[in-house]
């Protein structure tokens, strides 16, 4: 494990925390860019230059898509944890991932990938499980997806170029989907989370003659 891997993993963790914990949606999208640009470098050996460049470009494009939507986002409810607590959660996940070396988890990739993946996972689960603001769901989904790819890197080793390219394509598709959700919700003037159930229709007023 080299210092470069540790630094790249730390950038991923910080980016994930900013993307999910920042109150300002634009700053959150910048955190997302940092996460997505650093994530392809958390691999040992590094991917070939072309898939690496593709991953970085896809990350920038995905972050840009989320940023464009973030400019239209009205002020919504603040994140549940807040930025400081989210940063602490990411740090805890990062340390836990590095500590996994002690239990000799069988894997083919670097510890830093597992650490970065767990850091991203730790901060992404909350906004996805309890979505109070639909605008925050998109960045959280991208963070979760990146966490999954990092854990895959840690377990199975550096992915083949085709998998790297497919990963980049799906990041962009997810960001585009998040942008569609965000802009649609902005058009409607804000929408609550996806789990809101239809309220029951109010009971019909009982007629006067019904004397029970």
């Amino acid at each position: 494990m080299t210092p470069l891997l540790l630094v790249a993993g730390a950038i991923v963790g910080i980016g994930a925390a900013v993307a999910t914990g920042s109150r300002d949606a634009r700053i959150a999208s910048l955190g997302l860019v940092g996460l997505l640009v650093a994530a392809p470098f958390v691999a040992d050996p590094l991917p070939a230059p072309l898939p690496l460049a593709f991953g970085v470009a896809a990350g920038i494009l995905a972050g840009f898509l989320v940023f464009v939507t973030a400019r239209r986002v009205p002020d919504g409810p603040a994140p549940t944890l807040g930025l400081p607590a989210t940063l602490v959660a990411a740090a805890a996940g990062y340390v836990a991932g590095l500590g996994a070396t002690a239990v000799a988890l069988p894997r083919l990739g670097p510890d830093a990938a597992l650490a970065a993946g767990l850091a991203a996972l730790a901060v992404a689960v909350g906004p996805i499980a309890v979505t109070r603001d639909i605008f925050r769901l998109g960045p959280a989904l991208v963070v979760l997806y990146t966490a999954g790819t990092l854990v895959l890197n840690a377990v199975a080793g550096t992915p083949a170029p085709l998998t790297s390219i497919a990963t980049g394509v799906l990041v962009v598709a997810l960001a585009a989907g998040a942008a569609v959700v965000g802009s649609g919700a902005a058009t409607l003037g804000g929408t609550t989370g996806p789990d809101e159930v239809h309220h029951r229709r109010p009971a019909v007023a009982r007629p006067r003659g019904d004397a029970r």
Partner: protein, 528 residues
């Protein structure tokens, strides 16, 4: 290489129809034309030399060809039914974008790329179908789909990373790691158990098994009905094929250690089969009836996973085509039903068959395709799946539950045979009608024809123009008058397609067993 033209045509078609979505007639023509072009390209997909891309491969297969042809053919018919009812601008783009994603998912060798492509297909089809025009229910449904696709692909990727499987080349894990780094074999029991449960959860969520079924019914409420086949049937079917292409190979050797986990999945499948059927029986909206039949059949997909048997996998590859085609036909039927009576509530449409006998015939044909009979592909494939995962009384229970969809359709037919409700009595019948000719006297004295006009009309191009104008003038009102019989006719075509699939036409049984990017083995299933 034969897959590339299809992917190009479908992607270009998606872009074109999405750009033309705000133009009603041009969008309709472009949508139908693009789907026809993609259908033509899909028929040319062959199991040819794989195209090497970045350490992986892209190749066609017989199964992929059949799946794409049925998806696009059925989807096109549903689009026509929907267009004869109303204009749904996002449906053609969703169908084409989803089909392109399906082609990619089933054409890529290796589990991780296939999972990524399946997720991309889900995201693309959902965003195209639900993104515009913005409405709260659609935005929520899209958010749910994105969340489901992301969590599913994350769990699937981690599972495929923990227990790798040989996909096309023995001793190699395509798309996952360098050759020789990971060999298929017996996985650690604890890891295999976790992976098995995780992948079962993914399958249950993508198909809408109980208790993760809310997604399907809410999707049926929010999505445009023309896009529902791709969202609720074909894309979940793709997830099933990808997962079942991997699980028996990767986890099969460890199946002896997975007794409890397999029992859990079987229990979940039984609950889904039985409660899904009950839910379909008590629904009042026809859309929800169809949605819960999809939920119920998630139990069969779960049983195919629980068996971890390559024979059940091959049966599932055949069954899933019957499933998706019959649900496509049922969705087309609900669109026509709702348009004919202005409502989809069964309590308001008692006796509907008096006004819509052709829809009744189509529904009866769909019933036959759904249930099948011994010797038929639909029947044998379903039974092979049930037998591979269950036995004794549990098999009997699963067998009874698997007939729930048929019972739900029977209920629709019984409601249709009742006494006609006022809404049904006031509905337009299915007999074709001709537009009334305006009386010459009523239209006033004709304008005197000038000599040059007479000469122009007498010439050949002039006659063609007059004929075309006359045909156009007559066709429009005739089309407007005959929307009901035309819809019924297209639904009958859909039912015919479902019947052909159920009897195993298009070489489905052979295609299900043929090797391909997502299926390395040749294992016949009993009775196919």
């Amino acid at each position: 290489m034969s897959l590339l033209p299809f992917l190009s045509v479908a992607t270009a078609g998606t872009v074109i129809v999405t750009l033309l979505r705000d133009r009603r007639w041009l969008g309709t023509l472009a949508g139908i034309g693009a789907v026809l072009a993609a259908l033509g390209a899909a028929t040319a997909v062959r199991p040819d030399t794989p195209l090497g891309i970045g350490g992986g491969a892209l190749a066609g297969s017989d199964h992929l060809r059949v799946l794409l042809v049925l998806c696009l053919g059925g989807g096109l018919l549903v689009l026509i039914v929907a267009r004869l009812a109303t204009w749904q601008p996002s449906a053609p783009g969703a169908l084409l974008g989803g089909a392109a994603g399906i082609g990619l998912a089933l054409g890529l060798a290796g589990t991780p790329p296939a999972l990524l492509a399946a997720a991309a297909a889900t995201v693309a089809a959902s965003a195209l179908a639900l993104g515009s025009p913005a409405a709260p229910s659609r935005i929520r449904a899209l958010a749910r789909e994105l969340r489901g696709a992301t969590t599913s692909v994350v769990v699937g990727l981690v599972a495929a990373g923990i227990v790798p499987a040989a996909a096309s080349t023995p001793g190699r894990v395509p798309g996952l790691a360098e050759p020789g780094l990971a060999e298929p074999g017996l996985a650690e029991p604890a890891a295999a158990a976790l992976v098995f449960l995780g992948i079962g959860l993914v399958l249950a969520h993508r198909f809408g098994a109980i208790p993760l079924h809310a997604r399907v019914s809410r999707l049926a409420d929010a999505a445009p009905s023309g896009a529902l086949p791709i969202l609720a049937a074909w894309v979940p079917a793709t997830w099933v094929i990808v997962i079942l292409g991997w699980a028996p190979v990767a986890l099969g050797p460890s199946s002896a250690d997975l007794g409890l986990e397999r029992a859990l999945i079987v229990a979940l499948a039984l609950v889904t089969l039985l409660f899904g059927a009950v839910a379909a029986l008590i629904q009042d909206e026809v859309d929800h009836v169809v949605a819960y039949t999809i939920v119920a059949d998630a139990g069969i997909a779960l049983l195919a996973l629980a068996s971890l048997d390559p024979a059940a996998r091959d049966a599932a590859r055949a069954w899933v085509l019957v499933f998706a085609t019959t649900r496509t036909a049922m969705i087309g039927w609900t669109i026509a039903f709702r348009a004919a009576f202005g409502t989809g509530r069964l309590r308001d449409t008692a006796g509907w068959m008096r006004r819509a006998p052709a829809l009744g015939v189509a529904l009866a044909a769909i019933l036959v395709a759904v249930v099948g009979w011994p010797g038929l592909l639909a029947w044998e494939a379903r039974l092979a799946i049930l037998r591979s995962a269950t036995g004794g009384p549990v098999l009997l229970l699963a067998y009874a539950g698997s007939l729930g969809t048929g019972v739900a359709i029977c209920r629709l037919l019984v409601v249709g045979l009742g006494r006609p409700s006022p809404i049904v009595a006031g509905a337009v019948g299915e007999l074709p009608r001709l537009p009334a000719q305006p009386a010459r006297a009523a239209s006033g004295p004709a304008a005197p024809e000038t000599a040059p006009a007479r000469v122009r009309a007498a010439s050949v191009p002039g006659r063609v123009r007059v004929l075309a104008a006359s045909a156009g003038r007559d066709a429009r009102p005739a089309l407007e008058l005959n929307r009901v019989p035309l819809r019924a006719f297209v639904v009958i075509l859909l039912a015919g397609l479902a019947l052909l699939t159920a009897v195993g036409a298009f070489g489905i049984d052979a295609a299900a067993r043929a090797a391909g990017p997502s299926l390395p083995s040749f294992v016949p299933f009993a009775g196919g």
